[in-house]
């Protein structure tokens, strides 16, 4: 492969391994990263007689036979109470130095919140100042939070996802057999409540810049509704509209959309989006500049995350 170095030296170099990894010939992590089960412990029953072993096991936790355990447990309780009290004292002492809520001379009472309160409406177009601050002035922070959610789901997927449907059946991850899947009460209630929950979640997301709420709370409500639907009607019925393929598309699209909007927003000095997302009349649904599209992105991301956690915990796949 290499013209300047001899073949053996090249074989052990980083570039050669990288090239093989690029071509898909060898995964450098296979066999090195996986956890191996620990070597089986030596069976204690072989050292003692089985009856002796049972006797030892029975008496090892008894205080009358084990003097050291007795003193240890007493010291343990005393020290834990002491540490707890110490911690409480330190925290209460620290809290007593905090300024009172809403005081005039508080250090938070500087020019930043004053600007948010007086000019937030003109600059962001959001009636709900909290959403205006979170998604307009500090949209970069919120982007980080959404990325954290994305990475968290990826980690859970790496840890407990089983890709193949047949493998899942073989491992018996789906423990629905023990549950009243066709429970009439649950189904009837879910049939009535689920649409209301979804509508409420969508309302919270779309009205994030007008009333309390926003992407995170609305997404959590929609995710909870999805969980209720999946719990009462089974995963087969949720897979009709929300399977793994759709999940990946929706999740990645939401994050990318947010990333693109935020990137453009920052590159143009927070001024360039007015002709795409006009600020509009404060109080209208279609107002608030970038807040509404970002709210929708965050909402879908959070709903996907919550439902994915439930589904992955439940059956090891979406």
């Amino acid at each position: 492969m290499s013209r300047k170095r001899p073949q053996e030296e090249y074989n052990s170099s980083l570039a050669y391994r990288f090239r093989r990894w690029m071509n898909g010939e060898k995964d450098p992590f296979v066999g090195t990263l996986e956890m191996k089960p620990p070597a089986p412990l030596e069976d204690p029953e072989q050292i003692y007689e089985p009856s002796d072993y049972e006797e030892i096991k029975k008496k090892s936790r008894e205080y009358s036979c084990n003097e050291r355990l007795k003193t240890y447990s007493k010291v343990y309780i005393a020290v834990s109470i002491l540490i707890c009290l110490l911690l409480i004292m330190i925290l209460v002492y620290a809290v007593s130095y905090l300024p009172s809520v809403g005081g005039e001379s508080n250090p938070t009472n500087n020019e930043v919140p004053e600007r948010y309160i007086t000019e937030g409406l003109q600059e962001t177009g959001a009636v709900n100042i909290v959403t205006g601050v979170i998604l307009n002035y500090r949209s970069f922070d919120t982007f980080g939070e959404v990325t954290v959610l994305f990475i968290a789901t990826c980690c859970v997927m790496i840890l407990i996802m089983v890709e193949n449907e047949e493998k899942r059946k073989k491992l018996k991850l789906d423990d629905y057999g023990l549950e009243p899947l066709y429970d009439t009460v649950l189904r009837k209630v879910a049939k009535i409540v689920c649409p209301v929950i979804f509508l409420f979640g969508i309302y919270i997301i779309l009205n994030g810049h007008l009333s309390p709420g926003g992407g995170f709370s609305g997404g959590a409500v929609i995710g909870a509704g999805l969980i209720l639907y999946a719990a009462s009607f089974g995963f087969k019925s949720t897979q009709r509209f929300f399977n793994e393929k759709i999940y990946v598309i929706v999740k990645v699209t939401a994050l990318l959309m947010y990333g693109l909007i935020a990137l453009y927003f920052f590159l143009t000095g927070a001024n360039g989006l007015e002709h795409i997302f006009p600020l509009g009349v404060p109080g209208d649904i279609l107002s608030g500049g970038i807040i509404l599209p970002i709210n929708i992105c965050v909402g879908t991301e959070v709903a996907c995350t919550i439902y994915a956690f439930y589904a992955l915990f439940r059956r090891g796949g979406l």
């Binding site: 057999g177 023990l178 309390p212 709420g213 709370s217 959590a220 956690f309 439930y310 915990f313």
Partner: protein
């Protein structure tokens, strides 16, 4: 600070302590759920409804649900389930 806020704060402390002192894990999770509900009411009283909605949905709903699912996975939720499993399969 009204009287109701004080009552709620006392309940909050009691719930937080009870979570760790209860022997049954299932009951601990239920108390934790109550803790989140009280917290969401307190958020509402502190005039931050945004947080109240999130706390009610995530703290009281989704987190407890994930705890329940985990308990079921490690078969700590009740002993009756295991009997059903043995007879059912």
């Amino acid at each position: 600070m009204t009287v109701i806020t004080w009552i709620l704060l006392v309940f909050l402390v009691i719930c937080a302590a009870a979570v760790s002192f209860h022997k049954n894990i299932l009951n601990s999770i239920l108390i934790f759920m109550a803790y989140s509900l009280i917290m969401s009411v307190i958020w509402m009283m502190m005039e931050s409804p945004d947080l109240a909605i999130t706390e009610a949905a995530v703290g009281a709903g989704v987190t407890s649900l994930l705890f329940f699912v985990t308990l079921k996975k490690i078969q700590r939720i009740s002993s009756e389930d295991e009997d059903e499993k043995e007879t059912g399969e």
